[in-house]
């Protein structure tokens, strides 16, 4: 092993830990955006969408195409990519998932796993196998000083975006009529349809929302991250971990889970450079063993 697992890097004062935590938080926000959609879809539709990461990837590719290739304004590019992925999501739900809600979860996992394979190769066909890295919009360059160290404006923006989304989604589900309908049908489909809620359309909407959240995560990454086939599959496992830790179908749980995983791996990299990966899975396992419904699950 390259150095003992407990090899400590130098200089672990409070400032360092704070800074690393903040960095971890910015990374956590991408995870949150990904996990939010996953957990919403599971909570309402009861489907664990293996292909959710692929929607994240599609979001990144669309954003890259609009913004990186066609030079569309950054913000517009993001909106466009969200809409495009939402369309893909509706298609998935309407023509495939809808027909397997009643089925064993195993088939849902398998179906959506099939979609991972399809999406990965599809983007390869359209955009080629080589990784894409567009330039960053100039207004995001530069840094602000945090505990005396330069902190990227972009990461700050990501943190902000993540929090805003968290609030918006919360309001959406807690305060709006639509949210109430969704929660009603999540808890009791028969009852919901009995009181005249159009369940199929509602579910399509929910799935589209989940897809858009994933896409947002992907799209916001494009200026600073790499866009390549397979990033979705690489991300989905982390998303699973997060939603499991927070409790499948639990939004607050997903947020906390994402923050835990994001900051923890940041600290893992700082403190035990060797054991990060193992650490994350260990946590997931322990949660599953001790409290399978997750930290926030009822």
């Amino acid at each position: 092993m390259p150095g003992s697992p407990f090899l400590m890097n130098e200089g672990k004062d409070m400032e360092t830990l704070a800074f690393q935590g903040l960095i971890g938080l910015s990374v956590a926000m991408y995870l949150w955006l990904l996990a939010a959609g996953l957990t919403i879809v599971f909570g309402v539709l009861g489907v664990l969408n293996f292909a959710h990461g692929s929607l994240f990837m599609l979001g990144a590719y669309f954003a890259f195409t609009f913004y990186g290739l066609w030079g569309v304004n950054f913000w517009l590019a993001i909106v466009l990519s969200l809409l495009s992925v939402a369309v893909v999501g509706c298609f998935m739900e309407r023509f495939f998932l809808r027909h397997i809600y009643h089925m064993d979860h195993a088939y849902q996992l398998l179906l959506t796993f099939g979609f991972i394979l399809i999406f990965d190769d599809a983007v390869k066909m359209v955009w080629g196998g080589v990784a894409k890295i567009p330039a960053m919009p100039s207004f995001f360059e530069g840094t602000v000083s945090v505990v005396g160290r330069p902190f990227p404006v972009y990461n700050l923006f990501i943190i902000g975006a993540g929090l805003v989304v968290a609030i918006v989604v919360w309001l959406l589900f807690e305060k709006t009529w639509w949210g109430k309908m969704v929660r009603a049908s999540a808890s009791d489909r028969e009852m919901a349809s009995a009181i005249g809620i159009n369940i199929p359309r509602l579910f399509t909407g929910v799935f589209a929302l989940g897809a858009m959240l994933a896409a947002l995560g992907g799209a916001l990454g494009t200026p600073v991250r790499v866009v390549a086939p397979g990033i979705g599959a690489a991300m989905i496992i982390q998303a699973f971990i997060i939603t499991v830790i927070g409790g499948l179908g639990n939004l607050k749980g997903a947020f906390v889970g994402a923050v835990i995983v994001g900051t923890l791996s940041a600290y893992g990299i700082l403190l035990f450079p060797v054991f990060e990966l193992f650490l994350i899975f260990l946590i997931m396992t322990v949660v599953l063993m001790v409290k399978p419904q997750g930290l926030f699950g009822g």
Binding site: F115, F278, M289
Partner: protein
């Protein structure tokens, strides 16, 4: 009777293969046999017990690394393979105790998680596993029982027969198991856990049994790998590798005995042939999976046998 004859013919063909087929065909056949064993074990868990594991590659890897380690230290094929299987069985028994407490996606997530922990151990515990370079230069040791016989394994043909023998044995035993009272018991658990419990069947005990047997089969498949490739690397423990028996089984059909075997053949050939003409073989596989899940949950076999799947 008809099937008996068909099986006999098939076995004879397989036995004659080295005479008629080239080196590469032999190599591919060995891989198909490994995948068949792997998938059979997986399907005992999925098709027969109703538990979808995404961590089987973990046990496959334990078998592979175990056998590899043994062969590097003590070059005797039998010792290596048996050793690998035993270790894999032990690990799956232990992890089984932890996993079978859950069902549905909690079980799937838990197995996924354990599999990936094994993966990261294989990747990180470099002193033992050789990191991502893996165990290198594992000998295809002679098949030997001191005092009785010693067969050189260097020629691929010889090793092919060893694998074939193990595969036939594994398949035969599997047939016995699923058609035994125990086999019926686990199917009962699959069909209705509560009902099974209320006729006096200890659900956990039989889940654990099935989990362990599945682990043993994964371990056997894994143990047969290092002598063939002379290398073992972490990817064999990765969750994406766990997906292979899943896909193969789904392809062949989860509710038929031969499903996983047929599926393994199709899956491997699909992968091996399509990949030569296009780099986009995964999309074909993906479409097939979607179609199977949407339409023919009994897999290819159900289409032949007009049975299975649709429920």
């Amino acid at each position: 009777m008809k099937t008996r004859v068909a099986i006999l013919v098939l076995v004879i063909l397989l036995a004659l293969l080295p005479a008629i087929a080239g080196k590469y065909a032999l190599y591919v056949t060995i891989h198909i046999l490994l995948l068949s064993i792997f998938s059979l074990g997986f399907n005992l868990l999925f098709g027969y017990t109703g538990l979808l594991s995404f961590g089987q590659a973990g046990f496959y890897a334990v078998g592979a690394y175990g056998c590899g380690k043994i062969l590097l230290a003590y070059p005797s094929l039998l010792v290596g393979i048996v050793g690998g299987v035993v270790i894999a069985g032990a690990v799956s028994l232990f992890l089984g105790i932890l996993c079978i407490r859950h069902t549905r996606m909690y079980f799937s997530m838990l197995t996924l998680s354990f599999g990936m922990m094994i993966f990261s151990v294989a990747w990180k515990w470099r002193d033992v596993t050789g990191g991502d370079d893996g165990l290198v230069g594992i000998p295809r040791a002679p098949l030997e029982i001191p005092g009785f016989f010693k067969i050189n394994m260097t020629p691929m043909e010889n090793y092919y027969y060893v694998v074939l023998a193990f595969a036939i044995l594994a398949i035969y035993l599997f047939h016995r198991i699923v058609h035994s009272p125990m086999g019926l018991a686990i199917q009962g658990i699959r069909d209705s856990e509560t009902r099974a419990a209320c006729i006096g069947i200890s659900v956990r005990k039989y889940r654990l049994l099935s989990f362990t047997i599945a682990g043993l089969y994964a371990g056997l498949a894994g143990s047969l790998l290092p002598p063939l490739e002379s290398t073992v690397t972490p990817p064999v423990a990765h969750w994406s590798y766990s997906a292979e028996p899943v896909l193969a089984t789904l392809l062949g059909g989860i509710y038929t005995f031969s499903g996983p075997i047929v599926g393994s053949v199709l899956f491997y050939l699909l992968k091996d042939i399509i990949v030569r003409f296009t780099e986009y073989w995964l999309i074909c596989l993906g479409i097939i999976v979607v179609v199977l899940v949407m339409g023919f949950r009994g897999g290819v076999m159900s289409i032949f046998l007009k049975e299975g799947g649709r429920r």
